[in-house]
């Protein structure tokens, strides 16, 4: 096994003073992690909704990595068995074609509506900030 080398990204924790330090030290993204805030959104490319995409919300500093899949209208909602939504904070966002279980697939679909730059944290300039309470975003990609 090896560790994925992740860029150290600035992940700003909001309402820092309200959260005891012990909460931070026990690690994020676990069942006992900080409370999740509801997160819904729309993914667009040049203003057009993008269906069948996996949107990843990443905060390496706090070890939080959750994804959501867009529906046919490009809508997404972050849902998980351990709790829906995301802990408050700022996340870098990457976008990928929705994962497929197709055993015979040998090529990743081209998906010109998901430009390559948005598929890696090193090149994606998308971020969202999750606040206490309900959150609704438009994740807007642009490109040729």
């Amino acid at each position: 096994m090896m560790r994925r080398l992740s860029r150290d990204l600035p992940c700003v924790l909001l309402a820092l003073a309200l959260i005891p330090a012990s909460t931070l030290l026990t690690g994020c993204g676990r069942h006992s992690g900080p409370p999740r805030q509801p997160v819904v959104g729309t993914l667009t490319f040049n203003g057009t909704p993008v269906p069948d995409a996996q949107v990843a919300f990443q905060c390496p500093e706090r070890h939080i990595y959750f994804t959501a899949i867009t529906d046919q209208q490009g809508q997404l909602e972050v849902r998980a068995a351990s709790g829906d939504g995301l802990p408050a904070g700022t996340y870098q966002v990457t976008v990928h074609p929705a994962p497929s279980d197709d055993e015979e697939a040998t090529q990743v679909p081209l998906r010109p509506d998901i430009p390559q730059k948005y598929r890696a944290t090193s090149t994606s300039d998308l971020t969202v900030t999750v606040d206490e309470g309900a959150n609704a975003f438009v994740v807007a990609m642009t490109g040729p």
Binding site: M1, M2, R3, R4, S6, T26, G27, G29, R30, H31, Q54, A56, Q58, H63, Y65, F66, T67, A68, V78, R79, A80, A81, S82, D84, P99, S100, D101, D102, E103, A105, T106
Partner: protein, 118 residues
């Protein structure tokens, strides 16, 4: 750490059990070689990103064929068993510091693992 346990189901958002093992339904021995199709699939290997006993199937790098970041899980309370390269077996707590978990999973980072790390 050479081999880590993956022996519990993950959960979908709806709470349904989901097989999140890195063999991806191919059992123990398939994979590790480049196939004639050129797809070069490797099974029974994971890159540690999520905490021990992370069980949400919507975590990054888990779904699809075959998710590269499937977590180490068990049905034992509180952690997993792991086989180390020296042949010893250790119980790793799910409260293990993430940096220590990464250092254990990375064979050549050069970092020192603190004694009593489990």
């Amino acid at each position: 750490m050479m081999v880590g346990e993956q022996s519990n189901f993950l959960k979908t958002a709806a709470g349904v059990n989901w097989d999140g093992r890195s063999d991806c339904s191919h059992s123990l021995m398939m994979g590790g070689t480049r196939e004639s199709s050129g797809s070069g699939r490797i099974f029974n290997t994971t890159v540690v990103v999520h905490p021990i006993n992370f069980r949400d199937a919507n975590g990054l790098g888990i779904q699809g064929n075959c998710g590269p970041n499937r977590p180490l899980t068990s049905t034992h309370p509180g952690g997993i068993n792991a086989l180390f390269i020296d042949g010893s077996v250790h119980f790793l707590s799910e409260s293990l510091a993430m940096d220590t978990l990464f250092n254990l999973a990375d064979r050549d980072d050069g970092n020192i693992i603190p004694s009593g790390f489990q």
